[in-house]
Amino acid sequence: MAAALAIAKREWKAYFASPLGFVLLILFSLLLGLFVYLWSPFGVPTLFARQSADLSGVFAARHLPLLFVLFGAAISMRLWSEERRLGTEELLLTLPVRPIDAVLGKFLGAMGMLVLCLATTLPTVYVVWSLCDDPRGLEWGPILGGYAGSLVLGATCIALGQLASAFTRDQLVAFLVGFTLLALWFFLADLATNLAPHLPERFAGAALEVQQYGLTALFDSVDRGVILMKNLVFLVSACALLLGLNAAVLTWRKAG
């Protein structure tokens, strides 16, 4: 585990050895700020129009999932592709590190970047807190629940992008593949709804069943600060499965 933490630290710092880390932070905060304060692509009323001291603008069902499609792919694109391009994968994997530790280290480093991105919403928490005129103060439960749910959802997006990154030495290719997969996940509910009528009855039911595992559907309840156990279990298992697959890819590649 010590090796994984050392790798995580190096990965996290690597974001700021180039402009990438700063660009990610600035774009994330600008886009989310736009959605919360000025205009929501999903018609969610802006913070000031709503006149309610809560963070549902931040955790609105589709805002963060949409950003995670873009930023999950962008944060994770370099994780393996850069190692393969520079040849440092050979250096890393001949150090006494188990493949799963290398995978976890990279994942944790990327999660550090995601946490920083989410931290750019803290000024909004302050704005909401200062606008709150309820004598009982802010309701912190939904806020904390919202952050926890966002972290779990973001983690799964990063694990998917990281897996995509293990198959190429080109960051752009890794980004495009990760982005496309995440976008398909984002639109899963719409896809299933549109496909269902064209499928034989047996599959139509399954297609509708699948809807609830779409990126946005999983986030629906987080909007209210509630993390459904079923969704949590699904996301954590998906994340663990993707990281395990990533380690398997490394082991499989060793076989040449």
Binding site: A6, R10, L86, G87, T88, E90, T94, V97, K254, A255
Partner: protein, 238 residues
């Protein structure tokens, strides 16, 4: 110390390493020579656990590489071909990172890093980004990461590639210094005079097979120079 038996590896239909066997004793410096694509790097990669063999067995310091890769990796130092480094990092933090991943305890880490810096004469560039270092220094950073834990076995894939004659002499002295301290060294190179100068023993490999094994003088024997022997042996095989 290092025991390789019947090791083979294919990539698709190309057999890169073909039933290779050899043994290397403690404290030896062995030069791996052979044409490009002969299987030198593939053999070294199998010794380090980076690649799995298709058949055969490689044992380093009593550990089977395919069964106990971590035990082997803990005890060896490896400089991969073309010396890949995290070029965005500065030299000292990079070495600290390697020391940390290698599990060198926190209180010994700084000393290990400084010793590697001193051994490889990196004091001048310790604060520089690796990207900004000259080729010779980069190569020494690669060597420093390989020796940071004072390994008993050093595997160096073309450690002098791309260096000028002065830098090569420095590198050679460093490698001989490690052997004097009791390390076993396997190095690969194209530069045959270097093998004659550095390695008491050479292993010549061609088309994935060992074609000569012994002191460079013995290999060149009646054929004159090692280069002539190299050309004759490896070309007749082609």
């Amino acid at each position: 110390m290092i025991r390789v038996q019947d090791l083979s590896k294919s990539f698709g239909s190309h057999r890169a390493v073909d039933h290779v066997s050899f043994e290397i004793e403690t404290g030896e410096i062995v030069g791996f020579i052979g044409p490009n694509g002969a299987g030198k790097s593939t053999t070294m990669r199998m010794l380090t656990g980076y690649l799995a063999s298709d058949r055969g067995r490689a044992e380093v310091l009593g550990f089977d590489v395919s069964r106990h890769p971590l035990e082997v990796q803990r005890r060896i130092g490896y400089l991969p071909e073309s010396n890949p480094l995290y070029v965005d990092m500065r030299v000292r933090p990079f070495l600290r990172f390697v020391a940390e991943v290698r599990g060198i305890p926190r209180r010994e880490r700084a000393a290990a890093v400084e010793r590697a810096i001193e051994l490889c004469a990196l004091q001048e560039v310790a604060r520089k980004r690796i990207r900004e270092c000259s080729k010779g220094y980069k190569q020494r950073v690669g060597l420093a990461q390989a020796v940071i834990h004072s390994p008993k076995v050093l595997i160096l894939d073309e450690p002098t590639e791309g260096l000028d004659p002065n830098q090569r002499v420095v590198m050679r002295d460093l490698i001989q210094g490690f052997a004097k301290q009791g390390a076993t060294v396997i190095l690969s190179t194209h530069i045959l005079p270097e093998v004659e100068l550095t390695c008491p023993r050479a292993l010549m490999i061609s088309r994935g097979r060992i074609v000569a094994d012994g002191a460079p003088k013995k290999i060149s024997g009646p054929l004159g120079t090692l280069e002539q022997a190299f050309r004759q042996i490896t070309q007749t095989k082609e």
